[in-house]
Symmetry: C2
Subunit: 129 residues, 2 copies
DNA sequence: TATGGGGGTTCCAGTCATGGGAAGGTAAAG
DNA sequence: CTTTACCTTCCCATGACTGGAACCCCCATA
């Protein structure tokens, strides 16, 4: 398989796949013409990566997860720990965004949004209450 | 005021303030020795920027907001529009994270987390359901 | 046999909003 | 005078790509 087909099937841009090779996540062999010759196992791994990334795992987390995936003697506890830590980070991020959202929504609500200059949004940013 | 004091009072790292000057957000004059000599208005603007950034506005949004803030003839509608667009982006981001969170929480829940290799998390990543 | 199109390749630069650290000048304190 | 604490500029790194240039390769058609 060439990179185009793999990109299509894994749901990743070709650029991203080249990048993943660059950082050692996949190691497809090369054809005589220099083209990457992806095996089924490479495609499989890339699809795995695509899904892990879609769940927000960092590249380094992905590296760990792929390692665990390929290790028949892994302990599911190790996988779970990685996932739990990621879940915690996501929760923190959501909480942070939610805080912004609430403040922002209050301000937007308080703003008339007409052609006059008075604006509680700017007032808040300027004075910080 | 030197950069250290301004950093302290605006709640921004000195590095960040230098960066903001670099991209034209603030333009403090210089003393004879080359030190930045911040005026009250610079401090005020930097505090404004710090709060806008804390609400998640991008640097470009901040540039617009500062411009509106300094324009006595602004229409509050213009401010409100910027804030509403930002609010929408935040809501999208929260929804996206919430989706990840839910999937992840389900998977974590389903994983025994013991020393055996069977793991629904990896299974999901590998097969994608 | 040219030529055109649609693959593929590498390499370099840019994104966003900083942060780290080096190398050096300056000011305040003891 | 020396130490210490600032300040300056400059360049590199981050994460995870994305865009683009310049070039190679394979196949089909006129």
């Amino acid at each position: 398989m060439n990179i185009g087909e793999v990109a299509e099937r894994a749901g990743l841009p070709a650029k991203t796949i080249r990048y993943y090779e660059d950082i050692g996540l996949v190691k497809p062999p090369r054809d005589a013409n220099g083209y990457r010759a992806f095996r089924d196992s490479d495609l499989h791994k890339l699809a795995f990566l695509a899904r892990a990334r879609a769940l927000g795992f960092s590249i380094e987390d992905c590296r760990v997860l792929v390692g665990l995936y390929q290790d028949d003697h892994r302990a599911s506890a190790d996988v779970k720990r990685v996932a739990e830590e990621h879940l915690t980070r996501i929760d923190e991020k959501i909480a942070q965004l939610q805080g912004m959202r609430d403040t922002l929504a209050t301000l937007v609500d308080a703003c008339h949004g007409d052609d006059r200059p008075d604006c509680p949004i700017l007032k808040d940013l300027a004075e910080g209450n």
